[in-house]
């Protein structure tokens, strides 16, 4: 077991044969090596150090033992990131200690190491549990890699449409075989009818034969078109459905890891690539192989010597094609770069039109655009010139071979060693032979491209949801008590957004969550909703661990209104009904009224039946916020979480909504994140967060008296308001 070279620089549970040499002698009785991470710097020079985590201590090896510290003395491990380098540091009983420096190439490896250390020393996860999980991971990785014959997996995925695929291939091969008959009929026509006049009666038969071949060919072509279209759609739909379903299952952390563009490209572009391959190249590989075999045998049967001559230009063409592929990548990449630049300028000019115009940068953009167009033209001409250097030479080889065939074949016809019909049939088949040979070479390239695309798709399909419901999770009728126990959470493994948060909220209590930007407020509510799993600690509702509660049950009873809510591209009514699908029209209106959304909705000509556009773009930020709040209120949740509910509202509406919130949240567990502290005047308790920690808790007055961060935030807002009113007075209202 073990030996998993993970993340380019860390090995989990390496076998003893792979341990760095001095380590074996250093290990004590019962000490197990959990992970070995390799740095790629020693000081400011390239070099290698090993950082070894065992179940008892952390060791740094640089030829010999450089540093060691028992885990019991470590309070926390962390990473500090610079332009190119990172430093792993420890907080120990003896003070902070920088342990090792490495370049960012090893960041992932050390992120894993830091997480492991913190799991043990901060999270106090029992070692036996950690070991079990890690060994499971090592095993799963090993299995995944051994079975990663990507295309076989891809075919496995497409198994349900295998009969359709087979039928498409069979019909396509049959169609091409039928195409081989006319040259043979022409041979018979020339040799036995037109030149000898011995079998004139055969003329009609040959004509009928040609007609029959044409009819069969037309029928097969239609059938082939039908099957190909069906296959085309079936492949794409099956893959897209698989990937899309997986996306729905993924945890939010996966969405953070992949950019939305990258996920989008996997659903659209990579599936397209595989679709093209499966319906184009994959079919053609079989068809081409069959054609090469059939025509090859026919050519040899007609004339083995001429066949040898006909084959001569093929190695030249293969060589030319290989050179072309190698060099073409450079030329086409340059062309693509030039094109990207044009797209980027257009995109900037459109998306940032207001910026461009307000700074008067139109002439600069025009100039840049014109330059880019010229560069593109030059790149395109270079591609043309380059292609002219390769293909004419290859073409010449074919021309010479063709002339040789006619010359040698012509001599044989004149000598009576070969019939005229055979020569004509031979040349027809010869040209038919070249096409599948080159097509097969192209197919191999497509196969490589499809394998890359398939790999990217499997990367998504292989992801496992990080937020997992335990098998024994159950429905729970919530009372409204919430408890956070020692929550530690990091999005990237480096920076901890929450550092040991402990918070207890009584059922029906209203909490205000305040703190500077990036203090961890939003992260905390995401964890409360179980959208993420904390690396350490637990969240409990009414004393039950959130992992023990069915996600559907939790989502029914906990509602959240996000800071910049996004609406679905449907009507206002349906967006509000996300809160409860079976709500009556009266309830929808009631919820909208409570959220102070009703008035603006009724001013729209189509009122609640108005479509809001993609992401709610046809509404203003404040309107979107109010519709989202209405949806949350319609849910009638036991626990309500509001992330900056009034951020996008004007002062008057803010006042209205705050009043309404005060009424609506009475007796209901409510967590309100707010920058505008005036929104929090009715809460029972204010919790102040800073840098991932809770730094103060208490009632508004109490916190002001304490003179800490809350007082500073309060005074800063007050100062802002005073300045504004002073400006208003001096601005002429009094004069």
């Amino acid at each position: 077991m073990g030996g998993d070279e993970d993340d380019n620089g860390i090995k989990l549970y390496p076998p003893s044969g792979e341990l760095p040499p001095p380590l074996k002698e250093l290990l004590e009785e019962g000490e197990e090596v959990v992970a070995v991470a390799r740095s790629d710097l020693v000081g400011d020079e390239y070099g290698e150090k090993h950082v070894v985590l065992t179940n008892k201590r952390l060791l740094v090896l640089n030829e010999g033992l450089e540093y060691e510290v028992p885990l019991s003395k470590i309070t926390m491990a962390s990473l500090r990131s610079y332009i190119n380098t990172c430093v792993m540091a420890l907080d120990t009983d003896e003070g902070p200690k920088s342990v090792v420096v490495f370049t960012k190439a090893r960041l992932k490896a050390f992120e894993s190491l830091v997480s492991l250390i913190n799991n043990l020393v901060v999270g106090r996860i029992p070692y036996s549990l950690l070991k079990r999980q890690l060994l499971k991971k090592v095993k799963a990785e090993a299995e995944k890699r051994s079975s990663r014959a990507v295309l076989i997996r891809l075919l496995g995925l497409l198994k349900p449409i295998a009969p359709l695929l087979a039928a498409t291939i069979i019909v396509a091969v049959a169609m091409r075989l039928v195409n081989l008959i006319p040259p043979y009929l022409m041979k018979v026509l020339v040799d036995e009818v037109l030149t000898t006049r011995a079998h004139v009666e055969k003329l009609a038969q040959i004509a009928l034969g040609l007609l029959a071949v044409n009819l069969v060919n037309t029928a097969l072509r239609t059938l082939n078109g039908y099957l190909s279209t069906k296959l085309n759609v079936a492949v794409a739909n099956r893959l897209r459905y698989k990937v899309f379903s997986k996306l729905q299952e993924l945890s939010l952390s996966h969405y953070d890891r992949f950019t939305s563009g990258s996920l989008f490209s996997r659903v659209i572009d990579d599936v397209n690539r595989i679709q093209w391959f499966m319906t184009g190249s994959f079919n053609m590989m079989f068809i081409n192989a069959a054609m090469i075999a059939f025509i090859g045998v026919t050519l040899v049967t007609l004339n083995p010597w001429l066949t040898a001559i006909a084959l001569l230009p093929i190695p030249i063409a293969i060589l030319g094609s290989a050179i072309y592929r190698r060099l073409a990548a450079r030329y086409y990449h340059r062309l693509w770069r030039r094109w990207s630049r044009i797209v980027s300028i257009v995109s900037d000019a459109i998306n940032a039109a207001i910026l461009v115009k307000s700074f008067g940068k139109e002439p600069t953009f025009r100039e840049k655009f014109s330059e880019s167009l010229e560069e593109y033209e030059r790149a395109q001409m270079d591609v043309f010139k380059f292609e002219q250097e390769i293909w004419p030479a290859v073409g010449l080889a074919f021309t010479i071979s063709n002339i040789l065939v006619w010359w040698m074949g012509g001599l044989q016809v004149l000598n009576g060693a070969m019939s005229l019909g055979s020569l004509m049939a031979f040349t027809s088949y010869m040209w038919m032979f070249y096409t599948p040979v080159f097509s097969l070479l192209e197919n191999v390239k497509s196969l490589q491209r499809a394998a890359v695309a398939a790999n990217r798709i499997f990367e998504v399909l292989d992801l496992e949801p990080e937020v997992e419901e335990r098998p024994r999770a159950r429905d729970l009728e919530l009372r409204g008590e919430v408890e956070c126990e020692n929550l530690w959470f990091t999005y990237d493994g480096v920076h901890y957004a929450l550092k040991g948060v402990n918070l207890r909220i009584r059922a029906g209590e209203r909490i205000g969550l305040v703190g500077p930007s990036g203090s961890g407020k939003t992260t905390l509510v995401k964890l409360l909703l179980h959208l993420y799993e904390p690396q350490v600690g637990a969240i409990k509702y009414d004393g039950v661990d959130v992992r023990e509660i069915k996600s559907s049950s939790l989502k029914k009873q906990v509602a959240i209104v996000l800071q910049n809510p996004i609406l679905l591209d449907t009507t206002i009514a349906e967006n509000i009904m996300l809160g409860r699908e079976d709500a009556s029209p009266e309830e929808v209106i009631a919820a909208a009224k409570a959220a102070r959304a009703h008035s603006f909705i009724m001013r729209l000509p189509e009122a609640y039946d108005t479509e809001v556009g993609s992401r709610g773009s046809r509404l203003s930020g404040g309107e979107r916020a109010r519709v989202a709040l209405a949806a949350a209120l319609l849910k009638n949740p036991k626990i309500l979480i509001l992330d900056e509910p009034t951020a996008a509202l004007d002062a008057l509406t803010e006042e209205e909504v705050t009043e309404e919130l005060e009424r609506l949240t009475k007796g209901r567990t409510t967590i309100i994140i707010a920058h505008r502290l005036s929104t929090l005047r009715f809460v029972d308790r204010v919790v102040v967060m800073d840098e991932g920690r809770i730094v103060e808790e208490g009632a508004h007055e109490e916190l002001l008296k304490r003179g800490g961060l809350y007082k500073k935030l309060w005074e800063a807002q007050l100062k802002g308001l005073t300045r504004m009113s002073a400006a208003t007075v001096s601005g002429g209202y009094v004069r």
Binding site: T571, A573, A583, P585, E586, E587, I589, A590, A591, K593, A594, S599, I601, M602, E606, A607, Y608, D609, E611, L633, L634, N636, L640, R663, L664, T665, R668
Partner: protein, 164 residues
């Protein structure tokens, strides 16, 4: 925040206690629970999904909501519908004579229950309602309804499917 409580605040009106007295273009004079209001505008909060629900507005003030205006007495209903037909004027498409692309727009020639009309749309112009009806929005924001697309003649259906 119980929604049931909020429902009480909606001022749901008893149709037996609402009488429309007069209709003028987009306004009605209405007697609600014994009190007469002049210049009241009826509005449909759900013009497509629940056209039977009506809310009455006197300026910005909301006077109340009828769950189903069809339960009003016949005279009131007739007067109210006269106003609703103006406020929610919507031609019903009976036949599509042709759709052609012209300068980045699409020109529709249709026959509606209000007579023949030619209008222009952008490419994304059709909205499918839950109950299967279609709305075609032209570039001026006017909306035309296709009540039962399946019942249109085959040529009209072909034009519709081209644009959907």
């Amino acid at each position: 925040m119980c929604v049931e409580n909020l429902q009480r605040e909606l001022k749901i009106l008893d149709p037996r206690r609402v009488h429309v007295l007069e209709a003028r273009l987009d306004e009605v004079d209405v007697e609600i629970e014994g009190r007469v209001y002049c210049g009241v505008r009826p509005r449909r909060p759900f013009p497509y999904s629940h056209p039977e629900i009506i809310m009455f507005y006197k300026g910005e003030e909301e006077l109340g909501m009828l769950r189903d205006y069809r339960r009003l007495d016949p005279r009131s209903r007739e007067l109210l519908e006269r106003v609703l037909r103006i406020i929610y004027f919507m031609p019903r498409v009976k036949k599509i004579l042709g759709v052609r692309s012209a300068k980045g727009k699409y020109e529709w020639r249709v026959v509606t229950d209000k007579g023949p009309v030619t209008f222009y749309t952008w490419s994304r112009c059709i909205r499918l309602l839950r109950d299967g009806r279609l709305l075609i929005r032209d570039i001026d924001g006017r909306v035309y309804m296709v009540e039962n697309p399946e019942k249109l003649d085959s040529k009209s259906r072909l034009y519709l499917s081209m644009m959907m």
